[in-house]
Amino acid sequence: MKISLKRERKFKKEEESWWLNMDIYWKLAVLLMFLGTVLAFFFGYRLFIEINKELVVFSNDANSQIETVKKETIEKTLQYFTEREKKSKEILNSPSPLIDPSL
């Protein structure tokens, strides 16, 4: 009878200490997860701010000049190609000005 009481006590002590340790680990895990979540939010916000910036097309410097092409220049170039197209049609509809030199 005496022996059995001793055994019971020993078992109770072990059980208590194991539960105590589990509690510490759980707290530690929750803390780490909380810290991880906070860090994720922080880096996510930083990344959002970084990519949310608009592309700066113009320089704020008043002296800087942007290279532009005038509409007249484009029209002139297109006119040049239109004339070439007309010339191509003329070539197709007219006989060749050169004859075979070997004949």
Binding site: I74, L78, R84, K87, S88, I91, S96, L98, D100, S102
Partner: protein
């Protein structure tokens, strides 16, 4: 300080809006102008155009080589063509007046039969965007 920043941002937005309106105004010209350039990612329309000129003057053509120039100043195209002398002449003049800006690097022409001539020529596409 905040007010100045806001003013700069407002000015910038106005400039972007003006630029967008200007681009819309010349949209048609832009599309037309783009047809005269060949991009490295899409040179097929250009090759189709120059090869498409040959049947109009009864000439057979074949593109033998396509390569970017060493100095990146254009696209080099090697072509073989065969047909009558006048047909080849017409084909060359059509190439000269094609929708693309071309430069003739070299040409070799020889007679095969009584009426058939063979030509090998190299041209450079100057309106090429890498």
């Amino acid at each position: 300080m905040r007010e100045k920043e806001w003013q700069t941002e407002a000015n910038r937005r106005n400039e972007i809006k003006t630029l967008n309106d200007s681009v819309k105004m010349i949209e048609e010209e832009k599309i037309r102008l783009e047809t005269h350039f060949a991009k490295s990612s899409d040179i097929v329309p250009f090759l189709d155009t120059i090869e498409g000129l040959a049947p109009k003057v009864s000439v057979e053509t074949e593109v033998s080589a396509v390569d970017v120039a060493e100095d990146h100043s254009g696209l080099l195209i090697g072509m073989k063509a065969s047909g009558t002398f006048s047909g080849l002449y017409k084909f060359l003049t059509l190439l000269e007046n094609s929708p693309y800006e071309l430069k003739f690097i070299g040409m070799d022409i020889n007679k095969e039969t009584a009426s058939k001539w063979n030509a090998v020529f190299q041209i450079k596409l100057l309106s090429f965007i890498e």
